[in-house]
Symmetry: C2
DNA sequence: AACATTCTGAATGTCAACAAGAGTCGAGGA
DNA sequence: TCCTCGACTCTTGTTGACATTCAGAATGTT
């Protein structure tokens, strides 16, 4: 009963709930479902060929991730992030990520650094295909690896509870947040990787603060005084 | 259809799910259910005279609160917090609460301050009946009010996701964490209230750091040998 | 015409039964 | 004696049907 050197997870048995959640999540991100839209349980159940039980549990999961809201006897709706929501996400993410990078600077293993490096490399090679969506996902994956490198389970949970919202905010803004910044974003992540490798805690904090405020500035620029819904409508 | 000055919530319709979750939560806190125990769905369902549907959803809710774990086809178990879990809770709570008090120092309304004050007063009057459990609940309620005063929805959610664990850790240690510290705890919360009222952000951060590290030190003392190595590692 | 009321359709909340996985216990053999 | 294998049982995962609630249309009244 030996455990080979490979530390892959044991192919987690996932029920239909996770399956449904993943499908709906993707449908929200790639725009198949409009923001603010009502999510009909029987509709989703029929479309995915499952019963309503797993669908309900999946919606609860998405509610915990903050990308849908649920009201008693009224159902689930996809959230529309307001400018205030946006500020909340930015500020909370900042304190979480500052803490994460400080922990990572101390506790990151070589494997963690390798993971981070792998994501950065994927970014560089993704330059070619010009897919904004992939780029955004890689961006978030880098930060996933950062949180993982901090080896702090509850910090990871806290990140998980806003991760989907962050991703949604990035995706829903991608139309106006065009690719002028792509090489800049890559450079910033490379810098983060380097500064983590250096184990310099204070430099890490400075770097992540700079990176997040840059990201935040780029994104709030797209609000220009308007509501998100109108923003996406005019594109 | 006028809205009187009273800002009560519209009597939120709660389904059986929340009802079950509340029951199980209380059962965990007051010791009716032992730590590490398996939670049988049909057992809970029969005992509460409901079907398994709401029970399942309630268990998912408790899992999100971090006081039960769930495994595929194996069911739900009440968590047993280890010394590591404890450190995670302490560190994450610290950064959240530092942020919360800084926000509160700026954004707290008079009503928020009144709420905080009310809790402190309840603490003082609770001195008499010598109920540790009530005291702990008031302690957590004070911090609830603090997070509420920060007017940051997602920060509140982050607190919610560790709140039950914090409460559980306090409750499960109360036997050894006797009431030597009660007036000290009250004094600390009074100081927090005062410093928030003063709107001095830096003083607030200093106060909350002191309060949390005090609480943490008092609690880790109760581990007494459960994890000697890690115990000596810190401070 | 404007408002209040009732009714109807549809969605969610809940339930009890069926299907499938995981643990257990004992028989059999090395 | 110890290990392996397989059937059995208990629990969870899933399903389809029933009950409850909400929103809007239709109707009656002022």
């Amino acid at each position: 009963m030996r455990e080979g050197g490979l530390d892959i997870q044991p192919a987690r048995r996932r029920g239909l709930t996770d399956e449904v959640a993943e499908n709906v999540r993707q449908a929200i991100f790639d725009g198949s479902l409009q923001l603010g839209e009502r999510l009909n349980e029987v509709d989703i159940a029929e479309r995915l060929q499952v019963s309503r039980g797993p669908v309900r549990e999946a919606l609860v999961q998405l509610k915990q991730e903050g990308i849908v809201t649920m009201e008693w006897h009224r159902g689930a709706f996809i959230v529309q992030l307001s400018a205030d929501d946006f500020r909340e996400l930015a500020s909370l993410r900042t304190i979480l990520e500052v803490f994460a990078i400080r922990q990572a600077a101390v506790a990151a293993t070589q494997a963690d650094l390798d993971d981070l490096c792998a994501v950065v490399k994927s970014m560089s090679s993704a330059m070619a295909d010009q897919s904004d969506f992939d780029m955004i996902q890689l961006d978030v994956q880098f930060h996933d690896a950062l949180y993982r490198a901090s080896h702090h389970g509850r910090l990871w949970n806290a990140w998980s509870s806003i991760r989907s919202q962050v991703l949604l905010s990035l995706v829903s803004r991608r139309a106006v947040n065009n690719n002028y910044y792509r090489d800049l974003v890559i450079a910033e992540h490379e810098e983060l990787l380097q500064v983590i490798s250096s184990r310099d805690v204070e430099a890490c904090e400075k770097a992540i603060r700079g990176h997040l405020s840059d990201t935040y500035d780029r994104l709030v620029g797209t609000f220009d005084g308007a509501d998100p819904a109108q923003e996406s409508a005019k594109r």
